[in-house]
Symmetry: C2
Subunit: 322 residues, 2 copies
């Protein structure tokens, strides 16, 4: 367990609340790794959170999300805001293994003292991706960052859940082979508050934007029709328009009470995740659990038990510990 | 709850075991929807399963997985095998919303009486994607299909887990902008038993195959080095080579006891999923749960409680019901 115990040091909380960036880095590691004392730490800082605005950036691999995120982060920073970036996209250059060009941009960003980047190195720790991402964002929020950008790849159940738990969700697509159709099928349209057609200098971009607008008109009217913004991320084109669209959506949410509703849904989901996590911890801590699981696995494989009988016995055993 | 009660009809099991395809279709719906009596049904058929071979086909959206799957299914069927196809890829034409060309191919397949296609229409039901997919594959297996092809999009945590629970996992990539790098970063290389470079008539295919081979040489030697196969799915090229590679891997697993090891890991994972599912059911059934969850959500949002205090109270309440 990396960083275990760090957050329990007596002056740690003090340093964190005083704005010590090293303390923030350590706190995030502790939270991500579920190191000793991390829950007490989160409990302590929880009251400070709630001021940051959370923006999710999602879309298929190769859509240019990371490049957009880095531009967005820079513009916000240039406007005097402190920005956190959480990359939960396994294909993001933020999470290592980047193409050379990407990595150079990332390094530039890393030199900006208003920008704090963190990639989710693991697949979310024992508590799962959504829980870990939420807690890292919370830590950045409580630290005092004004804005947290969460980059996730928009394919996959857990990843969509993460994207969907932001205050504003930006969906990025590119004008390529059936990409709009793919994105729509993958459930991206449903969660989009702002749609970005990136690589808009490519053929088919205008047509794609038109198609998306038509599709969005079919969306049930709930007071917000997601705007479609064109961008060329590599040249920084369209970045201001995206910022503007996010700002308009934010103000719409604030006026319509939508922000409260979204955040309530987020809290509810968080409670359910924590409950499940609590149960997993009880299982893992039950003395007989591991041996029984191995034994039952063997019996199921030998055809002596069905998995349903086996899991019922496992549940009974664990129940004793609760 | 769609199909509720169908599987509990007195002659249903009989018809299913007699090879009635309509009964298989109904059984799958009941399993997917967790309809009344589905667990008893699974318990009944469990002893019949274990004969089918499970092949996972995974890779990024647009890699041509569905086209390959349909060719593979046809070749197996032509060789006299009964084949099941489970599509858990939200971008797959099997799951509806397909491009026209895709849909035509699908319809052709649907006319083949040796091929049984099922897409996971929902996102996996309350029990989650992995649980539902595993149970649908089990149902096909117990019905007597020889082979089950599971198509999943290879991005996203749950989706990778699904792919990784097959006997042989085929990873499909295409020679496009950094696709190999993306795939590697997304954890696809780790789970690949067979690698396919599809759209091999495009520029860069040979180079990509070479790069993949070099990368695979770095893999720790565990007695199996994944072969890299070139294909052009739309023309059916390379399909026989993929079948051959799967057959060689299967025979390797059977000789090396690897199949038993993989299936044991699958059973173990299944038991853990069922345990978690059991817990969720207990929660949902607890009389005070929903009201308490709403109340605690509101208190957390008002800053009266931290989520950690709230979930502890929720857990205590649920514990009483266990």
């Amino acid at each position: 367990m990396k960083g275990a115990g760090v957050v329990t040091a007596t002056d740690f909380l003090e340093r964190f609340l005083a704005g010590d960036r090293l303390a923030l880095a350590r706190a995030i590691s502790a939270v991500e790794d579920e190191a000793d004392g991390y829950r007490d730490f989160l409990r302590e800082i929880y009251g400070r959170a709630g001021k940051a605005y959370l923006v999710g950036i999602t879309g298929p691999p190769g859509a240019g999300k990371s490049t957009l995120v880095s531009h967005l982060a820079e513009r916000y920073a240039a406007a005097g805001r402190d920005v956190g970036v959480v990359a939960v996209d396994p294909t993001s250059p933020f999470t290592g293994g980047a193409l050379l060009g990407d990595r150079i941009r990332m390094n530039e960003l890393a030199g900006n003292e208003r920008i704090f980047i963190r990639s989710m190195a693991t697949r979310g720790g024992p508590g799962g991706l959504a829980k870990a991402t939420g807690e890292v964002a919370l830590t950045m929020d409580a630290f005092g960052l004004d804005l947290v950008l969460i980059e996730t790849v928009g394919v996959g159940q857990s990843e969509l859940d993460v994207a969907n738990s932001a205050d504003t969700t930006v969906v990025v697509v590119v004008p390529e082979s059936g990409d709009a159709v793919q994105a729509m099928k993958a459930g991206l349209m449903e969660i989009a508050d702002v749609l970005v057609v990136n690589k808009a200098d490519r053929e088919g971009a205008e047509q794609m934007a038109r198609e998306l607008r038509v599709t969005l008109e079919l969306k049930p009217e709930d007071g917000w029709r997601p705007p479609v913004v064109m961008s060329v991320a590599t040249e920084g084109r369209g970045v201001d328009e995206i910022l503007e669209a996010v700002a308009v959506h934010r103000s719409h949410l604030e006026k319509s009470n939508g922000l409260t509703t979204r955040r309530r849904a987020r809290v509810r989901r968080q409670l359910e995740e924590l409950l499940e996590y609590e149960f997993k911890c009880v299982c893992a801590a039950a003395p007989a659990y591991e041996n029984l699981l191995e034994l039952l696995t063997a019996e199921v494989q030998q055809g002596l038990l069905t998995p349903y009988e086996a899991s019922a016995r496992l549940f009974k055993e664990v129940s004793r510990e609760i």
